[in-house]
């Protein structure tokens, strides 16, 4: 695709379980597509350069920074944003002091959900390492890590 002439391309992908089809240009980022064209502002822009993880979404089941994904690559992919998360699942976050100002929270919750959906990851990784791509300037991280561990315990006990 050509970056400067505004060439458009129609792409189709699955977003939070629903099929979406739309035109994109070469220069659009997935983050902007979600927030400004699809009306899903839950995904936040923090640094815009892949450092902070506020814009984390699941891309074919793996966490990615949506600020670093060109929108045209979404063709045929499955994308899940914070809007797909059941608010009732956030209980451990409220109870464990895992959120304060909230800027990082959507990204943190998406990465946490990936861990909760794939507990086998903990055979080779710690929760802290898996969460290392989500910066939080309020909580000092312990509340986040402990809340995820509590959710894993609850999940394991079910």
């Amino acid at each position: 695709m050509n970056g400067s002439t505004g060439e458009r391309k129609t792409i189709s992908f699955t977003l939070n379980g629903e099929s979406v089809s739309m035109e994109v240009t070469a220069r659009e980022r997935l983050l902007d597509l979600l927030r400004y064209r699809l009306g899903l502002p839950g995904t936040k822009e923090g640094c815009g350069e892949g450092e902070c993880g506020a814009c984390t979404v699941l891309w074919n089941g793996l966490p990615v920074d949506s600020c670093l994904v060109p929108a045209f690559q979404a063709e045929g992919r499955t994308i899940e944003t914070i809007e797909s998360v059941d608010p009732a699942a956030l209980g451990p976050f409220h109870e464990g002091g895992a959120t304060q100002c909230g800027a990082c929270t959507p990204g943190v919750v998406i990465t946490a959900r990936w861990i909760l959906d794939n507990p086998g990851l903990l055979k080779t990784h710690t929760v802290r390492e898996l969460m290392a791509g989500n910066l939080c300037r309020c909580t000092g991280y312990d509340g986040i890590i402990e809340s995820i561990e509590a959710a894993l315990d609850t999940q394991g006990g079910n």
Binding site: G3, S4, G50, P70, E129, A132
Partner: protein
């Protein structure tokens, strides 16, 4: 310009696309290129193989632990899931963690074009800062890593923090039947092998302090002051990383099995 995971290209996306006409060649749909292929003699990574693909591969973790080590430190999962080994080579940054460990394993780069394939040792691949032997019409098709019996291997990276940080000073050391390999990154215009440090290890030289290493380090690398660090910090830390790996951990001792 070819694009795969986009973790380098999108960092300054708006400036880059606005400034000049660029046609993007999207490689991300070439699914078979996201592979790890084993033969008796080598492991071949496809053009689209990501850091995460290697991290979750038990055989790769076991045989090439430095690949896992670099992949886990290059960035967190959000980068590991999208960033590719071939992209790390193609971006040609002197701070490339993936390139450092691939070079320590004597990897070669397979370049493909309509004129045919060309295989280039990674240690000869770079010509200067952000410059490589890859011609504009060539694409990186795969990366081949020889399978060898290794008796010592180390990867050390120093950044501003442990996750999602670009390397200020980095070092990989590997010893196999092919000899010692020492590769440093973020301390020269390219990731590069360090022949003087390799010679010290081959000779089994006694290294009593990090300062003893500075003459060899100054022959091998040329660190600069930039936004991430200073030349003095870089050569000092490189000497300590090397000393710690070799002296404290004893990987250079001749009596080692």
């Amino acid at each position: 310009m070819p694009i795969a995971g986009g973790t380098d290209l999108l960092v300054d996306w708006h400036h880059r696309l606005g400034a000049e006409e660029k046609t993007l060649l999207d490689l991300s749909r070439l699914a078979p290129q996201r592979s790890l292929e084993w033969t008796r003699d080598s492991l071949t990574l496809g053009a689209l193989t990501t850091y995460w693909d290697v991290i979750v591969n038990r055989q790769a973790r076991k045989e090439f632990p430095l690949l896992e080590s670099a992949a886990r430190q290059v960035g967190a999962i959000q980068i590991q899931s999208r960033g590719t080994w071939a992209g790390n080579i193609g971006n040609a940054s002197p701070a490339a963690d993936g390139v450092c460990v691939l070079m320590a394993y004597d990897a070669t780069v397979l370049l493909a074009s309509v004129d045919g394939d060309e295989e280039v040792p990674l240690s000869d691949y770079y010509l200067g800062y952000k410059r490589s032997r890859r011609r504009p019409e060539q694409l990186i098709r795969s990366i081949r890593i020889p399978r060898r019996r290794t008796t010592a291997q180390v990867f050390e990276k120093v950044g501003a923090r442990r996750a999602q940080a670009i390397t200020k000073v980095g070092l990989a050391i590997c010893r196999s039947e092919a000899g010692w390999r020492v590769v440093a990154h973020s301390v020269a215009p390219t990731v590069r092998r360090c022949p003087s440090l390799e010679a010290l290890l081959e000779a089994g030289a006694q290294i009593s302090s990090p300062a003893d290493l500075l003459p060899a380090i100054r022959q091998d690398v040329a660190p600069i002051d930039d936004l991430r660090s200073t030349a003095v910090y870089r050569e000092t830390v490189l000497s300590r990383l090397f000393h710690s790996a070799v002296a404290d951990r004893g990987i250079g001792r001749r009596d080692e099995p």
